[in-house]
């Protein structure tokens, strides 16, 4: 059984005990424990079930590479699925539950999959569930879905906060082991700005566990001294609990800091996403030990040799009283020594090599531990935990030579450098025969903006496993030249790659050798994939799901690759590796979204009158990032009722509209007229000062993109109004042409949209209201239709435009935004006697539709030209050029056969459905109904007391009086007559009074 040792544990604080629960069971651990070490200390070997076969799973590793020990962490809104116990720091009150089983961890119905495993090889689902066709959707897929998926999603919104932050440095060092710290120290000494990130809560990495002596002292001393030195330097930033997730182009590195993961609910952000810009990155990310593929290597109690050592040394946790070591290298002998030192028993070291006599081997032998060469494990015995191993010759086919009772197996298949960050942005790898691993190829690094190397790997991440080499490498990579600290490390003999144990294992055994623990991919599966022609490593990965689990193959990739290479009789480097994709370990989505939630999810643009609308029954409509009143409801009113009331009131009395969102761009300069003649389809240079003109803007393709009223302010200055939400786009469009095409023209623009609140005063009493406010002459004579004037209204400086988008007598008043609310409230107060009511965008739409005015985005959709909308009058024939002119000359746009704007009047007075389309007789070659027109805007007109609509109809204006049929989506047909699109006041008398 696994238990807490009486002494030791360099990372735990025995004075601070933490209670926690696992599957509701109360357990105890210490500050400094990981959840994994605490579970082991409580003899919780079984921690989960695998993805496919629901096999019992125990803790294999001690760090980010752990594939098995994932839990649902926390409860309620703070539930977090798939939390890796080996990287979860223990905190008081932690509650964890195991995943992927039903009804319980100990008794899981899903384990039936294990019993029929031989019917479920890799890719079995591609070959079956084919008949009958409907069965996949209704029968098989639901079962597969329900059985997959590991942890549960929370059911409530996340109560925690997240944030992001930017950092910049000359050198980013990823990894706080001795390589990273040495690299940082060297670089910082040159004055460089250095940031060091360490994903765990501790500095030093593996060296202190591995008995390394630096400058004659245990590595812990050197680590403490170096961290102290770095902390004292102003040009160095050290961050623990901060995992570099991905390396992106031009030195951009994402890192996730666990700020309050271990102190939930303390008010700090749970996580912080760092967006770091580094001139150069050093990855000192170490190496990951590989499991050995032998039958039963997934039974709880089989662990990585390094993990066994970590649990003993760091957390004083014994994984078992009797630990069999199985290895192909010298490093695992350190585990034998650690186990022995802890007072536990090593019944045997099974070494697959035929020779082993390095310093460590000799030391183990001298401790009286049996070392057996050319030996491997034929099979692990046990179910929910290890009870023993059957020993065989590595060179053989698995004949059992001996059986050893034990409760843990420590395995080591050699070490693979952590090359993920090196590879994210294109760094290439080379195969290292001696270590049987891929390591960074210094000749082909990822490059940055200037073509120089962006990343350098150092230490174990660079394929160097000896501490003396590691420190020298770090100094070199950081640009230093001095001697490395003196390191004492035993001499190690070469490892010998073992990709299958025993090397001649039978099919029976191969079907029990796990490569990917979480996804249940075995040696036999990879061999099957190769046999079926899924020869590319990417095919094999995708066919078997090898390496696609939440650990992203940290333990399984190289072993799987080697098995594939073996099956194909190809050298490993020729088979290649799969692509490493960010993130290194999974990153919380909330952290990626950062602060952008709730109120600050997106900027919400508010006009100066926003709060007034909010206080007066507004129903909002999002328009770009703005929010505009759709209508103002009164108690008991529906939105439709409110719109009707607002329309009728504006036509009969007086309406007030917040039009502040309209774009307002000033264009000034000697060439401004000439420039606007290029921007607009009609002529703006001839507009007299003091006058307004409606203008259309097309893109270079000829399609209508914006419209608005242009006012000439002075001889060299025009003010261009754009659609709501169009201001930034149109301003950018103007600047684009000015800066990139006509840069010698003397024109300046300024986007003054937000400088002014703009308020439309609309209706028969509009003039009376302004006269009551007082300050300027707004009479017909002083301010005729399509003119503007400047002055003061209600004591506020104002510019009044005599324009109308409703067909009524109407003014648009621009006042400084800071006085917009005051002006609005003055209007409301003064307008009471005239029956003033504010109205929203929907009433605005109805009013304009009654008048046959088009709306950008309704009558246009990016494929409509002004001529389609009978706006040919606003497209100059005289001008030699304007943006869009050449585009409109193309055959399809110039064709007389286009759909054109008409009014549509239903025969029964009903409202045509939005987006309705009129079919034409017959079908096209693809069996679709032919069409001849569509509705672009449709409303109930309270003025006319019937439905009115506009639409684009094939040769529409030539077909006045014809009746079209519009099928409805819920059945039935609406008949509508083609009519003039101006439904109200065709002569335009009301607006010009």
């Amino acid at each position: 059984m696994s238990t807490r040792l009486a002494r030791g544990g360099r990372l735990i604080d025995r004075a601070t005990a933490h209670e926690f629960t696992f599957n509701g069971k109360r357990m105890a651990g210490f500050a400094g424990d990981t959840l994994a070490s605490a579970l082991l200390a409580n003899d919780q070997m079984l921690v989960g079930r695998s993805f496919k076969y629901h096999r019992p799973r125990g803790i294999v590793a001690s760090g980010a590479e752990e594939p098995n020990a994932l839990v649902n962490l926390g409860q309620g809104a703070r539930l977090e699925p798939n939390q890796r116990t080996t990287t979860t720091e223990l905190f008081p009150g932690l509650a964890a539950a195991s995943q992927n089983h039903w009804p319980s961890l100990e008794f899981d119905v899903g384990v039936v999959n294990n019993a029929v495993a031989r019917f479920l090889p890799a890719g079995f689902y591609y070959k079956t569930f084919l008949q009958p066709r409907a069965a996949w959707k209704h029968l098989f897929e639901p079962v597969i879905r329900a059985s997959a998926g590991l942890g549960r999603a929370p059911t409530e919104a996340d109560p925690d906060r997240y944030e992001q932050a930017y950092a910049h440095c000359d050198l980013l060092v990823v990894g706080g082991g001795i390589a990273g710290l040495q690299a940082a120290l060297t670089a910082a000494g040159t004055g460089a700005r250095v940031i060091v990130l360490e994903q765990t809560a501790h500095w030093g990495g593996r060296a202190p566990v591995d008995d390394v002596l630096i400058d004659e002292k245990p590595a812990d001393h050197w680590v403490a001294a170096t961290v102290a030195a770095l902390s004292a330097m102003p040009n160095v930033t050290l961050r623990l609990r901060c995992m570099a997730a991905g390396v992106y182009d031009h030195g951009y590195v994402l890192a996730e800091e666990r700020v309050a993961d271990h102190t939930p609910g303390d008010g700090r952000p749970k996580k912080r996403l760092w967006r770091i810009r580094a001139a150069k990155v050093i990855t000192a990310t170490g190496a990951i030990e590989r499991p050995l593929p032998f039958a039963g290597n997934d039974i709880p109690g089989v662990m990585l040799a390094s993990a066994v050592r970590d649990y003993i040394v760091n957390w004083a946790v014994s994984p078992g009283d009797r630990v069999v070591i199985v290895t192909n290298n010298d490093d695992a002998y350190r585990t034998a020594i650690a186990v022995h030192r802890a007072g536990l028993t090593v019944p045997a070291v099974l070494d697959a090599r035929t020779e082993a006599d390095g310093d460590l081997v000799q030391e183990v032998r001298s401790l009286g531990i049996a070392v057996h060469l050319n030996r491997g494990i034929a099979k692990v015995k046990g179910g929910r935990r290890v009870s023993g191993v059957a020993v065989c010759a590595q060179a053989g086919e698995g004949a059992v030579l001996d059986e050893i009772a034990c409760d843990a197996v420590a395995m080591s298949g050699g070490w693979s450098p952590v090359v993920h960050l090196w590879s994210h942005c294109g760094g290439k790898l080379i195969w290292d025969e001696a270590q049987a691993a891929f390591r960074p190829d210094p000749q082909r690094p990822p490059i940055t903006h200037d073509g120089q190397a962006m990343v350098a790997a150092v230490g174990s991440a660079n394929g160097l496993l000896q501490a003396d080499e590691v420190l020298a490498d770090a100094i070199r990579a950081a640009g230093g030249s001095g001697p490395a600290p003196k390191v004492h490390a035993p001499a190690e003999a070469a490892m010998v790659p073992v990709w299958m144990m025993p090397q001649g294992a039978s099919a029976e055994l191969r079907a029990k050798m796990w490569l990917d623990y979480q996804n249940d991919v075995k040696v036999a599966d990879v061999q099957l994939a190769a046999r079926e022609g899924y020869e590319s490593v990417e095919h094999t990965k995708r066919y078997t799901t090898l390496g696609m689990a939440t650990d992203q193959g940290k333990l399984s990739n190289i072993n799987g690759l080697a098995v594939l290479a073996g099956s194909l009789n190809a050298p490993i480097p020729q088979v290649g590796t799969t692509t490493f994709r960010p993130p290194y370990t999974p990153v919380t989505l909330g952290a990626l979204a950062g602060e952008a939630r709730g109120e600050i999810f997106q900027p919400l643009r508010r006009t100066p009158m926003h709060d007034w609308h909010q206080a007066h029954g507004v129903y909002w409509e999002p328009v770009g990032l703005w929010r505009r009143p759709y209508c103002y409801t009164r108690p008991g009113e529906s939105h439709a009722d409110a719109v009707k009331r607002e329309v009728v009131n504006a036509r009969s009395h007086l309406g007030l509209l917040d039009a502040s969102t309209l774009g307002k761009i000033v264009v000034k300069g000697p060439d401004a007229g000439r420039f606007l003649d290029m921007m607009y389809t009609n002529v703006m240079s001839s507009l007299p000062v003091g006058r307004c003109r409606y203008g259309l803007m097309c893109n270079e393709n000829g399609f209508l993109m914006d419209d608005g009223v242009v006012a000439r302010i002075s001889d060299d200055t025009w003010l261009c109004h754009t659609t709501s939400g169009g201001a930034d786009r149109i301003h950018a469009h103007m600047e684009d042409w000015l800066q990139c095409e006509w840069w010698d023209w003397q024109v300046y623009t300024a986007n003054l949209t937000e400088q002014y609140a703009q308020i439309a005063v609309v209706g028969p009493s509009a003039r009376k209201l302004l006269e009551k406010l007082g300050g300027m002459d707004v009479s017909k004579e002083a301010l005729p239709f399509m003119h503007w004037a400047e002055g003061t209204l209600a004591g506020i400086p104002a510019r009044a435009f005599r324009i109308s988008f409703s067909g009524e007598l109407s003014y648009e008043i621009a006042v400084p935004a800071g006085q917009g609310l005051a002006f609005w409230e003055a209007c409301i107060a003064a307008g009471k006697e005239f029956g003033l009511m504010p109205y929203g965008t929907e009433a605005l739409h109805v009013l304009r539709a009654e008048k046959g005015f088009i709306m950008i985005g309704d009558e246009t959709d990016g494929t409509v030209i002004p001529q389609d909308l009978n706006l040919g009058w606003a497209v100059s024939k005289k001008k030699a050029d304007f943006i869009g002119k050449r585009g409109q000359e193309r055959t399809f746009l110039a064709s007389p056969d286009r759909w054109k704007l008409v009014g549509l009047e239903t025969l029964d007075g009903s409202v045509l459905p939005d987006g309705a389309i009129a079919p034409a007789p017959g079908m096209n070659a693809n069996g679709q109904r032919n069409t001849q027109g569509r509705v672009t805007s449709t409303y109930y007109s309270p003025t006319l007391k019937k439905g009115i609509a506009m639409g684009l109809v094939h040769r529409g204006p030539d077909r006045m009086g014809e009746v079209l049929e519009f099928p409805k989506i819920w059945g039935g047909v609406v008949k509508a007559r083609i009519v003039d699109p101006v439904f109200y006041d065709k002569a335009g008398e009301k607006q010009d009074v």
Binding site: L79, L130, D158, A507, P583, P913, R934, P967
Partner: protein, 415 residues
């Protein structure tokens, strides 16, 4: 070709699955073919498959510079839908969707087409009107879609926050028979079926030149030598421009990076595909339990298969706002794909200035869902030398004429 079935599995289980055949052969190229398809992605393989199945042309090679299905076929978000607005788009995507329905049986390979339903959320009044237009169009196009209200949306997707606050859900366009399929399986299934018809799928074979005589294509130079052909189909999303250049013409296409990501696997929590265009995000849950999430595209030319990460942040903000429960889940893996973008964002299936050379490209971010329809139409074009009805509107000449197939309502670009 040995057929796949549950009985075949049972038989093989008894002998440790040692009797399975190769899914497709890996031959060396012959000296010439009737048709060479460049690109063994979904579109290229489907082109070859329907050349054989519909037109009896089986002396075909599909050549691929990497591994089959390794481009965008293997790196998309697997969504299948046909609720398009324009007639020509709806026709080809609906053809594809209907072929997907029977594809597993047709290929004897389970591509796991899962018509789990697809929702496009309307979160502004403008969007409501836009989708109403699509529903009406689909009605006349024979594409089954419907408009549903917010309560129905909530019933279909209980984890969705339909009350905003920023963009309350006003309704949705629902295509019940839209859904997802297993993307790799589509390529593998077509490859296996092509191979069974005697076609050669030649991987690790990069085209380095296009040979022509008298304005007609005669073959391709490759890293495995010259291969002659009577007809050439270029179906290489992402690198279309490079191959077209070898054939002597320029395409109205730019290559940009599109991004996607998956979360860690969790127990089923969302059964339909949801697309939210106002806030820019879409999401579905795979059979493995991963949330499959689509990000945005960069707007600059890029061939690196790495995109700019800020698009992913934007997408996740939007999705967390829409599905607040996903905030504590984790991103497992993110990646980019290189997609072709044309001037109207619609594909090109076209004859080219080079005789007997045909091109299929420009699918932008929507290629996976089109694979069977695209292959069907392309096979028709290659076999007959002239586009059939499905491809008729997708010719390259439409840009010169201004005859766009524009599915977006975005204003065009200046310059």
């Amino acid at each position: 070709m040995k057929r796949y079935s549950v009985f075949a599995i049972a038989r093989e289980a008894m002998r440790h699955h040692t009797g399975w055949e190769r899914a497709w052969a890996s031959p060396l190229p012959k000296s010439s073919y009737d048709v060479i398809v460049v690109g063994a992605g979904g579109h290229g393989l489907a082109t070859a498959y329907y050349l054989g199945k519909n037109h009896g042309i089986t002396n075909v090679a599909v050549i691929e510079k990497g591994w089959l299905g390794g481009g965008n076929t293997g790196r998309n978000t697997t969504i299948i839908r046909s609720n398009y607005l324009q007639d020509s788009s709806a026709a080809i995507y609906e053809k594809a969707r209907s072929l997907y329905e029977g594809l597993s049986q047709d290929l004897n390979y389970n591509v796991m087409f899962s018509p789990r339903g697809l929702l496009m959320l309307a979160q502004t009044h403008h969007e409501v009107r836009g989708y109403m237009r699509t529903v009406h169009a689909n009605l006349l196009q024979g594409v089954e879609t419907e408009w549903i209200g917010p309560e129905q949306v909530k019933r279909l997707v209980p984890i969705m926050n339909i009350d905003g606050p920023r963009y309350p859900v006003l309704g949705a366009l629902l295509q019940k028979r839209g859904g997802t399929a297993r993307h790799d399986a589509v390529a593998w299934g077509y490859a296996r079926a092509c191979s069974a018809m005697g076609m050669d799928i030649i991987q690790q074979c990069e085209v380095t030149g296009v040979r022509q005589q008298g304005g007609q294509v005669t073959g391709v130079e490759t890293t495995k030598g010259f291969i002659g052909t009577k007809k050439l189909a270029i179906v290489v999303a992402g690198h279309s421009g490079q191959v077209a250049e070898m054939a002597g013409f320029r395409l109205p296409v730019e290559a940009v990076a599109l991004q996607a990501l998956v979360s860690e696997p969790i127990k089923p929590c969302i059964d339909v595909v949801v697309m939210a265009n106002t806030v820019h995000g879409y999401m579905s849950q795979s059979d493995k339990g991963e949330l499959v999430i689509g990000g945005g595209t960069d707007s600059f030319n890029n061939f690196t298969q790495r995109g700019s990460f800020h698009h992913i942040e934007e997408t996740l903000r939007a999705l967390i706002e829409t599905f607040p429960i996903i905030s504590r889940l984790k991103m497992l893996r993110q990646w980019g794909g290189i997609v072709d973008m044309t001037g109207d964002r619609s594909p090109i299936l076209s004859k080219t200035p080079l005789g007997n050379c045909f091109i299929n490209c420009g699918w932008g971010t929507g290629g996976f869902k089109a694979i069977p329809g695209s292959g069907w139409a392309m096979a028709d074009l290659v076999a007959k030398g002239e586009p059939g009805p499905l491809a008729a509107e997708f010719g390259m000449d439409r840009f010169r004429e201004g005859r766009f197939i524009d599915e977006s309502v975005a204003a065009g670009v200046a310059h």
